[in-house]
């Protein structure tokens, strides 16, 4: 899988770290990268279902480019939202849809991204992609 340059650099950076706790700390730091989606705007429609933590996303188009707003109570989920934001914000929908969720696994953050597993990140990724398809 070829990733956008910024994401590919991030994956490499993550892969250089042996300690999982350090990798998690890096993901937590990525939580600041999200475009905030304040809790007062959270609804059942914006909720990421099947997620252990409370997580919400909203995808908009601004001048034909993706703008993902997101928020979660778990730093790990919000950090992954931050990484996804880096990967897709400002992209054209067709380009964003090419992204695979495997980058989280390649970064050594999550062990399994099986769709059958109650996995906050996978559910969030799928919801974002579904919304992009609707906007496309």
């Amino acid at each position: 899988m070829t990733y956008p340059e910024e994401l590919a650099e991030l994956i490499e950076e993550f892969q250089d770290i042996d300690d999982k706790m350090e990798r998690l700390e890096m993901v937590f730091d990525m939580a600041d990268e999200v475009i905030p989606f304040p809790p007062e705007h959270w609804t059942q429609t914006t909720k990421v279902q099947g997620c252990q933590s409370e997580a919400h996303v909203k995808v908009e188009l601004q001048d034909g480019k993706i703008l993902m707003l997101s928020g979660a109570d778990a730093k790990l989920v919000q950090g992954l939202m931050g990484i996804l934001s880096i990967a897709i914000n400002g992209s054209a929908p067709a380009q964003a849809l090419l992204l695979s969720p495997n980058f989280a696994e390649e970064m050594g953050i999550l062990n399994s991204l099986s769709p059958s597993r109650s996995n906050g990140f996978r559910n969030m990724f799928d919801k974002v992609m579904k919304e992009i398809r609707i906007l496309e």
Binding site: D18, R23, L24, F28, S53, A74, K75, L76, G120
Partner: protein, 399 residues
């Protein structure tokens, strides 16, 4: 002694993320000693065959292995009837279908508690909807115990009381003797969900005076996919078959069928033979332990952990009395539970987060989930100390 016991569990030698595994998710499932793995492997290697209707040697060995599990269950729990199921959930569903449908009708009431696992709520909700049965829930008080006054008052016209032996979230062991006595004096039968009770306490089913008791093998060092329903003999006779098919029939004609009269009546289809043989090995392995002494050791560890957590300003849900199980549920004031579980995992420590399939209880507690550390036979005080040390480190770094 504990070192030798730990040696029986090959999985405990592994590392997770570069750290020795500290497995504290025992309330979800326990690890399996080598003898259980060997017994199941031996069955598939040497005796694999279907049980009951065949005369060849392998079928005889498989049948003997499977039925030995039933004998073991009856002996271990002092029970006269032991139906082998896929686990606690199927055992409770079996009561709902096989006893409930035959004995409950519109206007009857079932008493449940807010402490129940979903497996002891949902089957009754389904039956209640189908039959117009009233469900009454006994509240959980602030001290994490059941409101016994409400319980006593809820028994009028009740036909069944369903109560969890020990809460999988709080570790609280309920006053089952009192609950059963009150239920029976009001004419109601009693079902005990003992999934979290059997790993910690040697239960005498007849002495408990309960009518049904459901539990799983995998919470007591046995395999997954197998459990049992113990039933009082008089009640057993009032149960009607639930699933139809092989093994549960006596004769089948195109005009109808007759059924077995023993436990096979409720064990349609090829049963869990390897799992039954594995469970037998687990019973044999556990019979060498002083379970009461082990329980005292484990509740001591849980009490120490709970006190350490409280001293760190962490909310602990549970009281950890002598008879309670070694389960410590808590919420960190500044680190979200899922994040905390990932951070523990980074240090090789396995804990569980979420609603633990007990959403009504968590709703009563005003929370949506907890982090749960649950201790079992092979856990040591050293592991508990490492758990607390790591939590302090994580709190300092991420809190």
């Amino acid at each position: 002694m504990l070192v030798a016991l730990r040696d029986d569990f090959p999985i405990l030698k592994r590392e997770v993320n570069g750290y020795p595994l500290i497995y504290l998710d025992n309330a979800a499932t326990t690890q399996k000693p080598q003898v259980v793995l060997d017994a199941m492997n031996e069955y598939y290697t040497s005796s694999n065959s279907n049980v009951h209707r065949a005369v060849h040697t392998l079928a005889g060995e498989a049948t003997e292995g499977y039925e030995s599990c039933r004998s073991q269950l009856k002996e271990w729990f002092n029970a006269e009837r032991a139906v082998i199921t896929s686990g606690t959930t199927e055992a409770i569903n079996l009561v709902a279908h096989a006893w409930g449908r035959a004995n409950l009708s519109e206007g009857d009431a079932i008493v449940l508690t807010e402490m129940e696992h979903h497996s002891d709520i949902v089957p009754w909700q389904m039956l209640a909807e189908e039959r117009g049965i009233e469900l009454r829930y006994v509240p959980v008080l602030e001290d994490f115990t059941l409101d016994m006054e409400v319980y006593a008052a809820s028994l009028e016209n009740a036909k069944l009381v369903c109560v969890v032996h020990t809460s999988n979230v709080l570790g609280v062991r309920n006053p089952l003797e009192k609950i059963t006595e009150l239920a029976h004096s009001n004419g109601a039968l009693v079902l005990i969900d003992a999934a979290q009770g059997v790993p910690h306490e040697r239960i005498d089913f007849q002495e408990s005076d309960a009518d049904f008791m459901a539990f799983s093998a995998h919470k007591m060092c046995g395999p997954t996919g197998i459990g049992a329903l113990l039933v009082r003999p008089e009640v057993f006779e009032t149960m009607q078959p639930f699933m139809g098919g092989g093994d549960m029939i006596e004769t089948v004609t195109i005009n109808g069928s007759t059924y077995q009269t023993n436990e096979h009546k409720f064990e349609a289809g090829t049963p869990r033979i390897a799992e039954a043989i594995g469970w037998c090995a687990a019973f044999e392995w556990m019979s060498k332990l002083d379970l009461r002494k082990e329980h005292q050791r484990l509740i001591g560890i849980a009490q120490w952990v709970a006190n350490e957590l409280r001293s760190m300003g962490i909310s602990v849900y549970g009281r950890h009395d002598a008879a309670d199980s070694a389960v410590v549920s808590f919420l960190h004031p500044s680190i979200q539970s899922e994040d905390l579980a990932h951070l523990f995992d980074a240090r090789g420590i396995a804990v569980r987060t979420g609603h633990h399939c007990a959403q009504p209880l968590l709703h009563r507690l005003g929370i949506s989930g907890t982090v749960r550390a649950s201790f079992y036979l092979y856990n040591t005080m050293d592991e508990a100390e490492t758990f607390i040390e790591q939590l302090k480190y994580i709190t300092e770094r991420f809190g």
